[in-house]
């Protein structure tokens, strides 16, 4: 009897946590299904999920951590850096050593920079080095990515983003070093694709057209269905004086029938839901 009661209590608590997780997913999925412009309803559903998440027991901390990551990326995917920042702050109050949340702080800053100036990647903007508010955001982003890498040196996306931001801040050599590391070690094709795309841009900025071409071609080899590497290569060919090849690159680009296989560049610029976190949470939420 003495053992039976705590045992029952544990089972009851676990059952309650399972039911709470199911509620979290109900609200989260309801939010994710909403149309892009349903900002208020989206925030309401997400906030309802967050309140339940915060009431979960300490034993569900991994679940909570992942939920904060998912919620932050869902808000970034809706170009809502303000609320994403709020969710990240709330998540970091619980999990200050979570490298992904720290990196997402940087993503918020990068996104804010791009909203202020959609031409931050313009070579003239890069080399002008004018300390505009948008560039200041890049400085914050850079600091966040470095901090995230201190927490987890293997967080490849933080390194990729650090490399990109260093390039945008006109620091091509350190940018190249970070991006080459990602290109050589990334296990996710999307990160390797972006690393080569960004390395191509760094080489192009330094007038090293052969290296730029090589990187763009490597990006195409990794993901022949994505458009951005073709655009980048076509432009490079035209700049190199080969207009016919520039036209051929665009003409020969395959047009996938489905648009599900989104180019990682778009997600990089506009945010994307962390589907791995979503799938994990979903599996965990089924009693």
């Amino acid at each position: 009897m003495g053992l039976f009661v705590p045992c029952l209590l544990t089972v009851a608590m676990a059952a309650m946590a399972d039911s709470q997780k199911a509620d979290v997913m109900r609200h989260t999925e309801a939010a994710l299904r909403l149309p892009f412009d349903a900002h208020d309803e989206f925030w309401r559903e997400l906030d309802a999920a967050r309140r339940i998440v915060d009431s979960l027991p300490v034993s569900a901390n991994i679940y909570k951590e992942r939920w904060y990551v998912l919620a932050s990326t869902a808000l970034l995917a809706r170009t809502d850096p303000l609320n994403a920042s709020r969710v990240i702050d709330a998540g970091r109050r619980h999990f200050k050593n979570n490298a992904t949340l720290k990196m997402l702080e940087g993503v918020v800053e990068e996104m804010r920079g791009h909203i202020m100036n959609s031409n931050l990647h313009d070579v003239r903007t890069i080399t002008a080095m004018t300390p505009t508010p948008a560039r200041l955001r890049l400085n914050y982003a850079q600091a966040c990515y470095r901090d995230a890498l201190k927490l987890d040196p293997h967080l490849a996306e933080a390194r990729l983003r650090l490399g990109r931001v260093l390039y945008l801040r006109n620091e091509p050599r350190p940018a190249q070093a970070e991006l080459e590391t990602v290109a050589a070690t990334a296990t996710e094709p999307r990160l390797a694709y972006l690393a080569h795309l960004f390395l191509g841009a760094v080489a192009q900025q330094q007038n090293d057209r052969d290296s730029a071409r090589r990187h763009y071609e490597q990006a195409i080899a990794i993901a022949p269905e994505h458009q951005t590497a073709y655009i980048a290569l076509s432009f490079l060919e035209d700049m190199s004086g080969d207009a016919a090849r520039a036209q051929r690159v665009v003409a020969e680009r395959p047009m996938p029938a489905s648009r599900d296989n989104d180019d990682p560049w778009w997600e990089y610029q506009n945010g994307g839901v962390d589907m791995a976190a979503y799938e994990w949470l979903r599996a965990e939420s089924i009693p």
């Binding site: 990647h121 313009d122 458009q227 655009i231 432009f235 036209q247 665009v250 680009r253 778009w266």
Partner: protein, 301 residues
Amino acid sequence: MIGASARCAPYAMVLAASAAVLDAAQPTFKGRVDAVRIDVSVMHGGQPVHGLTASDFVVLDNGAAQRIEQVSGERSPVSVVMALDVSGSVAGDKLRHLVAAGHALVGALVEGDRAALVTFSHDVRVRVPLTANRAQLAAALDELKADGPTALRDAIWSALQLRPMDESRPLVLVFTDGLDTASWLSSSEILGAARRLGVVIHVVELATEQAVTNMRGLSTRQVFGNPFLETIANSAGGRLWSATDSKHLPALFTQALEEMRARYLLTFYPEPPARSGWHDLKVSLKTGRAEITARRGYQVP
């Protein structure tokens, strides 16, 4: 112009010229430029001026007056690449009107003309390469759906790459209602390409009209557009039409095509022979008042 305004640089008499080498009408480079062809629009009171001859034009190449060898174009076939924004913001009535505008343009094509269809949200798609097959174009227009963010600059680049390498006159007609959020290429890269490639770019913009209160507390309606669009149209010797209601799109599309048809193609052999680098061009009329739109120069490799 039906509820819409054209925002092109108001050139009077002598226009801040522009001109450049049409890619279709690309000069032959044999160490120097042999022939330069300039696609020029001459308008007066919003209407094209017809019947002009070589003796009516003045062309200055880096300040040096040029002898115009040939004026043609009013009857030359047009190759128009439609680059249509089908991002999420275009869904609903706007898309319906846009499809109708595409059909209107296809319907206005004449013998010898060709058209291509590129659509873009974040995803830039060449739906139909240059063709004279109107049924194929019409079928592709009827399949359009709207969603996603906007990769305007990447779409303009792709559309420019469909330019023909023959004697027809290339026109890229861009429609958009939004700001670029997803392009790889930057503004200066696209503007540079627009100057370099010599394709006329016309832009039809669906702008936002909002009430604005001035310092005296008076409320007026103002149109907010994307400044990049005006810059690219001017750089490429084209025009920007700004509408605040999508139902005006069909009229604007055909107007853009008619404007293209009414343009003159001037050919001259640079004297002194053109050296490498950028050449400023100024085009004007010897007499009379008109708005002249053409490219601002050409590049010799």
